[in-house]
Symmetry: C2
Subunit: 384 residues, 2 copies
């Protein structure tokens, strides 16, 4: 298998490799398939306590430990651990880097292979096929089987992670006892696609992107990827959150001089952009945003979202946040209506929060209690 | 005065030139001052029927006639004309390109001058000073005086145009009989600043911007400016409008293939970006977005918005659109509360519309009736 390309620090990710590869929705088979992952807690003897965590667009498998590139805490460390909602004393937690990602799973940064699975000595780059959320889920299913798990106690995730949760429940209903799609939707909206397209246009516009072949001169399209991150970051926060955090405060000045004034919100966004490019691959960003844009679970089932869940025995816990305008509550309600139409076992909560889409990653005690309670109830029922 | 720089077609704009120039909020004086403008209708003998229209960020003075660069209809042609809300049989309408703009008024594209007003043979570019909404209004006041108008029957404008309306009423209360700030706010919010900063970062990231000196090689930072336009354009529309116009429809394909699929909303945005760069100057975009970000009318009056309007005799008509998330109704309500606290004569209407911020430019009969009625009532009262 491949080494990461030059501009990224080498990380020895834990991973499972499947030589026979994976058949993708686009018709191509990619082989071998590598799935990088992390686990927390212990799998019980009955193999009945596994909970799969699905990460969002720019997340990765380092859920609850120091990130190997940034040195920062895991992205869901606030809810993963002994006695926490994702209780490592009770559950065996798994998180895999998505197919198309850049933290060790097969993706644009990894070595390109030919149809026979032989390495070609260069990264995939933009030759990497377009993947779908369902392709990502198929790769995770291979990992679960590799770990000896036939049925997951739970599948949990927010945003793009929630899309994966829904795809898991629709594609492998017997393998999912409990599903918690958080701050998500059954399809990507026109506005969501539009924001993604701005990010892609920014990357494409960066001459350092070089048509996706930036590894050839050891540079990365840092400016374009940074702009993509900046616009995405705004969509993750509510107007209220931005106002509370920054308002119209100036950096290093008390009042406007109309000369070199910089608002705090500007320098914050620039910082978000500049740190992102040190940990994320631009071609991965293109691949994963495309996968999200493609996602339309109803379309996969003849235009009928309820058909995706017909006959399901999975228990669903749907949650949204009141100030999330990227995946607004209306999308969760549409999902709940479809689950009801499929006579599924579903509960729904809209959490009052002014933190926007990112609320699912932040301190929201009501949300944490609800999610933890749902999982614990399901575990009780399974005798875990 | 200057000639436009190479990449733009030369247009012989109608303009007034003030050799003594204009003192700016930043402390600098810019001389000479040129104000490009268009008028519609006839000034009456009493000079009492003049209505100033203030354009938005990317608008210009070609309100109700074919645009000299794009060949398209004027941006408010739907409400300007005989018998229309901005009735050219009754009013003398004036619209000036804003200071800092790129359609003939003094701005980054025009020839740089020294302190004595002598041309330096090169454009201002990024040497152009940071201007404010108040500076723009001061330039318009000079134009009004030049046209022999002491008091305007009305000042009307949406978005950044609405900011100018508010600044007119606050700075020259005796010169404004009626003020109609539309889809606007008394300050730019953190989220608004954040979106602008993304656009600026995209322009700054384009190597063709060359630190603002792009005229030197006859190129323009088309990719960066295009990305800036794309992200801004999303903020001008509501999610509902994007869904209604485009949904998840594909360009030239019935169903996703996960190969070369392009969503219609993507190609629309790309088109918006690519056409914008043929008519707008990148350095102007930087200058004008900054001016909007600076705008904070309360801060200009000791932190008290009501103080901006204390003792005013101006009649106000404040309007907003229910699906406008860039300048939401809450901002107009805050403005109305301040006007009420100043005991001003104010009426307010929130127009039900799912078209987003751009609704003020579109077919909204309720809005047109309300605006037209307000202006006509004020004209009646003045005996116009």
């Amino acid at each position: 298998m491949s080494a990461p390309i030059a501009p990224f620090p080498q990380v020895d990710h834990q991973r499972a490799v499947f030589p026979d590869g994976l058949a993708l929705d686009c018709g191509m088979t990619i082989a071998p398939l590598a799935v990088a992952y992390r686990t927390y807690g212990r799998l019980n003897a009955a193999r009945s306590n596994a909970v799969l965590i699905c990460h969002a667009l720019t997340g990765d498998q380092y859920v609850a430990e120091t990130h190997p590139l940034t040195g920062r805490a895991g992205w869901w460390e606030n809810i993963v651990g002994p006695g926490r909602p994702l209780d490592t004393d009770r559950y065996f937690l798994i998180c895999a880097n998505v197919l198309g990602g850049c933290m060790g799973s097969t993706g644009p940064r990894e070595e390109k292979t030919d149809a026979a699975g032989r390495g070609l000595g260069r990264p995939w780059g933009t030759d990497f096929p377009n993947v779908t959320i369902r392709d990502m889920v198929r790769a995770q299913k291979r990992l679960a089987e590799h770990l000896g798990i036939e049925r997951l106690l739970g599948v949990v995730g927010g945003s793009m992670g929630g899309m994966q949760v829904l795809e898991w429940a629709a594609t492998y209903p017997d393998a999912v006892f409990a599903a918690a799609p958080i701050a998500t939707a059954a399809h990507h909206s026109a506005q969501n696609i539009a924001f993604h397209e701005v990010g892609r246009a920014a990357i494409h516009s960066d001459p350092d992107w070089r048509g996706g072949r930036y590894w050839e001169d050891g540079r990365v399209p840092a400016k374009g990827l940074s702009v993509a991150r900046m616009v995405a970051h705004i969509t993750y926060l509510s107007e209220q959150a931005l106002t509370r955090k920054f308002g119209r405060r100036l950096r290093g000045a008390a009042a406007l001089t109309f000369l070199e004034d910089v608002f705090e919100v500007e320098s914050y966004l620039r910082y978000q952009g500049s740190t992102f490019v040190r940990r994320f691959d631009a071609n991965s960003y293109l691949t994963i945003t495309r996968a999200m844009d493609y996602f339309d679970l109803a379309a996969e089932h003849g235009g009928d979202l309820a058909a995706a869940f017909r006959g399901t025995k999975t228990r669903f816990f749907v949650s949204s946040f009141s100030s999330d305008w990227l995946f607004p509550t209306a999308e969760s309600r549409a999902l709940v209506r479809a689950l009801n139409a499929a006579a599924a076992n579903v509960s729904f909560v809209e959490i009052e929060s002014d933190k926007g889409h990112d609320a699912f990653l932040l301190e929201e005690p009501d949300f944490h209690r609800a999610l933890g309670g749902f999982l614990a109830g399901c575990a009780d029922r399974l005798g875990v």
